[in-house]
């Protein structure tokens, strides 16, 4: 089933590329080049990359439908797993470096602070998705695999909310991610509408106009 074709080769290139932000952060930490508050830099950067990969993994389906290139689907798992990887780093940096000796505060944070609650919930949702991403799990879960993995949209909404709620006053950056996510929601919404109606041409038209906005 696995052919070592062009997509497989491109993934070999994409893998270290996706790992690069993490490597640069580690290098920056050792070289003392993460600014005045390195813990904050690490937390913010790992969180942003988690969100980026999460949103990238969500682009696969609409992009595939829009371009008609089905090979795109083979990148989705890797993108999703990188989202989980950065989200886990994000959580680890927070607990081990930021809280450090105060790690017991994590429970208070999660129960008392809404932005922490939703952030942690997003990570908790990603956990079973990552665990069931293997080919054998996909086979074993059958139709319920698809249902389970739709939770990724919930995780994405929670992740954006997490970002919104932690910002002090300048909402521009989280708004960008919320906007992208909103576009996906609209694309998916159009799609389900179009699927309900017989006119498939309308769907393609709808996707096309919105697709150009989203990218």
């Amino acid at each position: 089933m696995t052919r070592f074709d062009r997509i497989a080769w491109s993934k070999l290139v994409l893998f270290p590329l996706a790992l690069l932000p993490a490597l640069l952060l580690v290098e920056g930490a050792f070289a003392n080049r993460l600014g005045a508050d390195p813990v904050d830099t690490l937390t913010h950067a790992t969180g942003i990359w988690a969100l980026r990969f999460l949103l990238l993994s969500l682009t696969v389906t609409p992009l595939r439908q829009w371009t008609g290139w089905n090979g795109l689907i083979r990148y989705r798992r890797m993108l999703g797993l990188f989202a989980f990887f950065y989200a886990t780093l994000h959580l680890l940096v927070y607990v081990a470096l930021d809280l450090g000796a105060y790690w017991a505060d994590l429970l208070t944070d999660i129960t008392k602070r809404p932005y922490m609650t939703v952030g942690f919930a997003a990570w908790l949702i990603l956990l079973p998705l990552a665990a069931t991403s293997t080919r054998s799990m996909i086979r074993r879960l059958g139709r319920s695999w698809q249902k389970l993995h739709r939770l990724v949209y919930v995780a994405a909404v929670l992740a954006v909310l997490h970002f919104f709620w932690l910002v002090k006053a300048d909402l521009r950056e989280p708004a960008v991610y919320a906007g992208i996510l909103g576009d996906f929601a609209r694309v998916q919404g159009f799609q389900s509408l179009a699927q309900a109606s017989p006119g498939r041409a309308d769907q393609r038209k709808g996707l096309k106009t919105i697709g150009t906005r989203a990218v």
Partner: protein, 335 residues
Amino acid sequence: MKPIRDPIILPSEITDERDFRGRRSLLAALAASPLLLTGCQSASSEAPVGAGATAKAAPPVGPAAGGAIPGIKTSALSTSEPKTSWSDVTSYNNYYEFGTGKGDPVERAQSFQARPWSVTVDGECEAPGTIDLEDLIKPHAIEERIYRMRCVEAWSMVVPWNGIALADVLQRFKPTSRAKYVRFVGLEDKERMPGQRYPVLDWPYQEGLRMDEAMHPLAFLAVGVYSRWLPNQNGAPLRLVVPWKYGFKGIKGIVRIEFTNRKPATSWNDSAPDEYGFYANVNPAVDHPRWSQASERRIAADRNLFNARIPTLPFNGYAEQVASLYTGMDLATYF
């Protein structure tokens, strides 16, 4: 853990190209102004800071941002805790007038001209007026105050400020008995402060203190840091430092000081009244609605990636000196 940094030429040490090209006219203007003569003399008498810097840039003329301040007194009010490095103090700043990113101010404030500068002092006082910054400073000896600085975002620094006790300055304007509060207003200038083009706060920045807080010996007007005139990103040429309060009380680029009998509106309180109070006293027992204030990440020479977090102290460790200002007040209500 932190490796020793090479002595680097700071952007603030390098004369702006416009100044360099216009140096003759600048000198002519300085010579024509008797008020600025003292500044001119001090510039010629002081040794340039960092020999390496002089090779590439002209030494700062007068009290230019980043130039050395002569004859600084030490203070018993200073802490002996390990300091935050000059590079961290001058590169990691919350100064939304130049952008909301911590690195925005150092990047975008370099061409800001902080001199000439004047401050209007008015309201409930007998001697109001608009005074040139040099005249505001001149009668006072400049002191060093090494203070803890606790940001409301739960990080902190230890900063060697240079300046004057706020009370000493305020008294010169003879506040009347009707003066219950002091209001501070920052510069509003969208051309010179690009961050003000976005209404992230209601510009200009405003802050305020109760009169007894303003008259407290710890309250400080900073004109310098690390024995140099304030770099633009740190609030040049004049900023407030109130070490027992969260950092946002330390308004930068002050252009107006007003004595008033009513509690003044303050920028962050206006922006989110349930999150940022008028008093804004550092208090580990009263959390920010969204995050804990019980501890903080200290940015200082003795701290690294693995041991940055330390407990936050009531009134940022100045409780002994200032707690009596608030006796009988519920600090959870008046946060």
